[in-house]
Homo-oligomer: 236 residues x 2
């Protein structure tokens, strides 16, 4: 084998490693999206069993995190990647932490769903949680799409979306407080609604974090803590 | 210069880089501890200005995170560290994310302190938040000590401590619900107490995460999601 063949071979192997790694992150993202979507269904439909199933399945998300982490360590140790490849791996190490935390929040929502299922149900079947839930589920999906396509514009869109999620969350909290003051017998139940809204709001934060890593990965620029730039649409 | 001198020189420079990096993480930890401690004081003493000062100063924690992150990237790219050194850097990349999130929670507690300062104050000056706050501040300090000394035994101690913090947190939440049911006029105020307890509980989680990275760093073994082993004291 010629030296240049060997180099080609190594570089093909390396690309294959990175491609596998990216696919594993996308698969983990897919699982997390599914967990979130089932957790929201469990709340809306008052399905206690489904809620507990989501909580129980969180170990699958954790297993993904540990195995992808090992994969990153192995690539760093054996390939000593540079520049863009290195940024990809650092971004993945951070991304899977956020995905795992989204899984944790879905687990909490699953538990809360099983509690809420055993209590009085409001006539609107927790419409406001459903709306917020779909909103953040959309953010998670868009964040994973931005990751898959290295799409900086889509990543900024998710970062901006998080502000709207925060407003929606604040409005639910105000409603909950009003509701508890009007009917103190509802306090125990409504507290579960506030915890659920809180978990959903945090999922939005995690989706935003992932998008910030995508921007860092593509542009080599750390945009955390800098605020959303004006008119990113026309800039990019 | 002889080749061996050059190797020595490079390895001394590398050790210096790693030492600097560790010191920066410890300095960031010190700042975060201080922010947390001031946030707790602001709650207990009803000091609105102090609370807002803590919230305002969160940017300092963020700056630390960005600069240490860059330092890690530079070392990974230029030194291609292996084995234990590589684990150190991966652990640091994760640790500073958790430190930054502890800073975020301290910021939230600062804001809540300024809100609570403007409301009726209970005669016990939020004793239960003070106790929980000191408990988690202790965990953060122990986590940073475990990091500084690579002390696996101390790291396990913090992981175990987190279970006690969770119990304390649950008990505060139950008290809050009882309180709101007995006196619905207190709902707005008590909701701020529950948010504050929630932030403190999350800080405990982050301290625990940091300790899990310490164990990974020292033992090269991922202990997340595995539960606390029995009798780690005698094992280690």
């Amino acid at each position: 084998m010629e030296a240049s063949d060997l180099t080609d071979h190594i570089s093909r192997r390396f690309n294959k490693d990175l491609e596998d790694l990216r696919n594993h992150v996308l698969a983990m993202g897919g699982l997390v999206e599914q967990q979130l979507s089932l957790a929201i269904s469990a709340i809306v439909s008052g399905d206690s069993e489904l809620g507990l199933k989501v909580a129980e399945d969180d170990y699958k998300v954790n297993e993904f995190e540990v195995s992808i982490d090992e994969e990153c360590g192995r690539i760093l140790a054996t390939r000593a990647p540079a520049a863009g490849d290195l940024r990809l791996i650092v971004a993945i190490i951070k991304t899977i932490t956020d995905l795992e935390r989204i899984g944790d929040e879905a687990e909490k929502i699953g538990f809360l769903a099983s509690k809420l299922a055993a209590m009085d149900r409001p006539s609107d079947s927790y419409r406001e949680l459903k709306t917020l839930g779909h909103h953040v589920a959309h953010m998670v999906r868009d964040a994973m799409n931005a990751f898959a396509r290295l799409d900086v514009e889509e990543a900024w869109e998710v970062v901006r979306e998080d502000e709207r999620v925060d407003e929606e969350y604040e409005s639910i909290q105000r409603q909950c407080i009003t509701f508890m003051m009007e009917d103190p017998r509802s306090i125990k139940r409504v507290m579960n609604v506030t915890w659920c809204a809180r978990s959903l709001e945090r999922i939005g934060d995690h989706a935003k974090n992932i998008c910030e890593y995508v921007i860092y990965m593509v542009q080599g620029r750390d945009v955390r803590h800098t605020g959303v730039p004006e008119g990113t649409k026309s800039d990019s």
